[in-house]
């Protein structure tokens, strides 16, 4: 008596790496800055996080049900989008606006294009830019509970006021929920590097370019350039949003070009744009250029010669 054996095409073993595990790692890496946001801006920030994550997951769930697609919320990517969007919003954003932004991110940017992996631009970034244009509430940042400051560090620094480096590192400044505490963000970034979810290329090229370009524009005032690098959404964007697989290049060289481009655009907008911050726009523009970067920097075939 012979039992039926399973027939499969090689390879017959798998590393067990999965989209879900990668997304879980991103969620874990974002935990420190989420906690820091709650400490700095109070519990209202957790309400924003809860609304964004719930709205993202629910809208993907319902979309898949309505269009009769295989359910995908289990891959956790919708939760990542929700969390990232929340961390890019000020703690005092009206919750209905946060929900609308989440809906936009998942339905318009992601699901309509075919769901995970098929989106052209990063959902969280695009939703944030959409909200920036659609709602005035995003232009006024929230401030730490015990702070008397009246401007975000980017605005402060642009006006020539000094900002304590310690405040920038610990996040005791105005801004979006998850963007202010550099220490917590770097902790998460290092986690992603150690877990090999991301490589160093994009964050280093992005932050490095921003630093060097700023340094040149600010007459080589290293302290000021460093403060500007630690201000705004640069660290959050460079480690967690520019590194989105779907919308960034796959080769090391492509990643470096992507990072340099994003850094240049960030500084251009910060210096001469009408918005104080340019990280979201920079990533969005590089997302759009990504297919071209990717095809120009594709790996050469072994023994392929010219062609």
């Amino acid at each position: 008596m012979e039992n039926k054996l399973h027939i499969s095409v090689s390879p017959h073993i798998h590393s067990k790496r999965s989209t879900q595990k990668i997304m879980l790692d991103v969620l874990i890496a974002l935990l420190p800055t989420t906690i820091a946001g709650a400490v700095i801006f109070g519990v209202s920030s957790l309400a924003v996080v809860a609304v964004c994550v719930a709205a993202c997951v629910l809208s993907e769930l319902l979309f898949n049900i309505i269009v009769k697609k295989q359910q995908t919320i289990g891959d956790l990517s919708a939760a990542v989008t929700g969390l990232l969007l929340a961390l890019n919003l000020p703690a005092n954003v009206p919750l209905w606006q946060a929900a609308v932004g989440s809906l936009f991110a998942i339905i318009i940017v992601k699901c309509i294009f075919g769901g995970i992996g098929r989106n052209v631009v990063n959902p969280a970034i695009t939703a944030r830019v959409f909200m920036l244009v659609a709602f005035s509430s995003l232009t006024s940042a929230a401030f730490p509970l015990d702070s008397t400051a009246g401007a975000t560090p980017l605005v402060d620094l642009a006006e020539g006021n000094a900002v304590e480096l310690k405040d920038l590192l610990l996040g005791n400044v105005g801004g979006a929920i998850g963007e202010t505490c550099a220490v917590a963000l770097l902790l998460g970034g290092v986690y992603l590097l150690i877990k090999r979810v991301i490589t160093w290329h994009i964050p280093v090229a992005f932050i490095g370019t921003t630093f060097l370009f700023t340094l040149v524009l600010k007459d080589f005032d290293a302290m000021l350039a460093l403060s500007l690098v630690l201000s705004g959404g640069l660290i959050l964007g460079a480690f967690f949003m520019a590194t989105d697989y779907v919308t960034s290049p796959t080769t090391p060289l492509g990643k470096i070009i992507f990072g340099i481009g994003a850094g240049l655009i960030t500084v251009l907008i910060r210096e001469w744009g009408i918005y104080p911050e340019g990280v979201s726009f920079a990533i969005l523009i590089m997302n759009i250029l990504n297919p071209y970067i990717d095809s120009l920097t594709a790996r050469k075939l072994f023994g392929g010669g010219k062609k």
Binding site: E2, N3, K4, L5, H6, I7, S8, V9, S10, P11, H12, I13, H14, S15, K16, R17, S18, T19, K21, I22, T72, D75, S77, G114, G115, I116, G117, R118, Y245, V246, P249, T250, T251, A298, R299, K300, L301, F302, G303, G304, G305, K307
Partner: protein
């Protein structure tokens, strides 16, 4: 041009490492297919009822690219049947009922070799095929007429579980030596390189001892990176030569022969006994006592598993070869083939039944590919049935090593699609040639 070949690190799971090989009891019957090689199936030269002995010729084709087939036991031809082989083709197979004696055919004698042509004909008569798993008739590697600068012996054995090659290097160094000496003598080979992965202590020691007795031979110890034993990878890492896309090792002056194939050639030169048995690693999580066995070609896999104590749990899948490039079989009645170097019985936990999801463009497949092929680009070309795009994406370069699929977080069937794309390209090339 310095080109870094990528690859992946695998848990090697060589539980049988260092074990001596053991001969299995004579099987009651053997089923010997007429196609255990790349090329045309051979034609039976025996009839039902014929008496055969170990080493009796039972099928051959004198003209086409093929390898002759010999009886692996002594007994009576009980039927000539048809079986489905792993590529899906149906071929004839000769079933032999054993008399339990294992009497050797009296015509088996040491071949007379006095020239290059004698040697090529001896290799052809030995029935040798690439024993690393590919099954390409070995003699055909020597008929191009192009000069052979480097004879590269493949002892990399980079797949998990497999230990039969290193066992052969340890136990049959003399056979390997004979084969090297004959090939060097008649083909005026400039250097002999044996590529072997780090960590195979005893095999490395034996081969270094061998290298010290043969002028111009060296042992190249290679890092443990899968797929180190891939032909182009091995040539590059052992000699620094890059084989251009669509070319063969001989085009850069290399001939690559698996170490077990070398041992087989040596044995034929010394005794005239053709390829009738294999050294096989029997392993996998479902096997009670993993062993390295010597089994006649044609033995049902079931006999090998039974010899290893049977199964400790119901196997989920059974493979010819390693887990990365092996071929899964429908049941354990299928026979040992010439090119079988391992048979594995894997549990459900060990082998992965992937549920495919959307590609998230993580790029791991491209990064892991030794040759820099973009599997998603091939998938795209295949889905559009665009053979030219598939060629441009490097479909023909793909050796199906599986590094792309292994780490794909979306469990996409990349190797499977590459295989289909290669078939598409073959059809396209065939049409173009007309």
């Amino acid at each position: 041009m310095a080109f870094k070949l990528h690859g992946i690190k695998l848990r090697d799971r060589k539980t049988t490492e260092g074990m001596p090989s053991v001969r299995i009891p004579v099987p009651e019957t053997v089923t010997i297919p007429t196609s255990m090689h790349i090329g045309k199936p051979v034609t039976p030269v025996v009839k039902v009822g014929d008496l055969v002995k170990v080493g009796t010729l039972i099928a051959e084709d004198a003209t086409a690219l093929s390898a002759p087939v010999y009886s692996s036991i002594s007994g009576k031809v009980s039927k000539i049947t048809e079986i489905t082989i792993s590529n899906g083709n149906v071929v004839q197979a000769i079933v032999i009922q054993s008399d339990g004696e294992m009497t050797v055919d009296e015509n088996i004698k040491k071949p007379e070799i006095n020239s290059k042509d004698d040697l090529i004909s001896a290799i052809k008569k030995s029935g040798m095929v690439g024993l690393g798993g590919a099954g390409f008739p070995t003699y055909a590697k020597f008929t191009s007429g192009k000069p052979i600068e480097t004879l590269l012996i493949n002892g990399a054995e980079c797949e998990p579980f497999i230990t039969s090659d290193s066992t052969t290097m340890v136990e049959r160094a003399d056979d390997i030596k004979t084969a090297i000496e004959s090939l060097v003598k008649y083909f005026e080979v400039k250097e002999v390189v044996l590529g072997i992965e780090k960590g195979k202590g005893e095999a490395i020691r034996k081969m270094e001892e061998l290298a010290s007795q043969i002028p111009n031979m060296k042992v190249k110890i290679l890092p443990k990176i899968y797929p180190q034993g891939g032909e182009k990878v091995l040539v590059y890492h052992s000699t620094g030569k890059v084989i251009p896309v669509g070319k063969l090792p001989i085009d850069v002056g290399c001939v690559v022969i698996n170490c077990s194939t070398m041992a087989g050639i040596g044995k034929y030169i010394l005794t005239g006994m053709p390829l009738v048995e294999r050294c096989i690693t029997v392993d996998g999580g479902a096997v009670k006592e993993p062993k390295i066995v010597i089994a006649p070609v044609g033995t049902p896999l079931k006999c090998l598993f039974d010899f290893c104590g049977g199964f400790k749990e119901e196997p989920f899948s059974v493979l010819y070869g390693g887990p990365m490039m092996g071929i899964s079989v429908p049941d354990t009645s299928v026979p040992v083939l010439k090119q079988t170097n391992a048979i594995l019985a894997l549990t459900e936990k060990e082998t992965h039944v992937p549920k495919e999801t959307n590609c998230i463009r993580c790029g791991t497949c491209v990064t892991n590919c030794p040759f820099g092929i973009s599997a998603p680009a091939i998938t795209k070309a295949y889905k559009a049935k665009d053979a030219e795009a598939a060629i441009k994406a490097g479909a023909e370069l793909c050796m199906e090593c599986g590094c792309c699929s292994y780490n794909c977080p979306a469990n996409r069937p990349l190797v499977q699609t590459n295989k289909l794309a290669k078939a598409l390209v073959r059809d396209y090339r065939a049409k173009e040639a007309k």
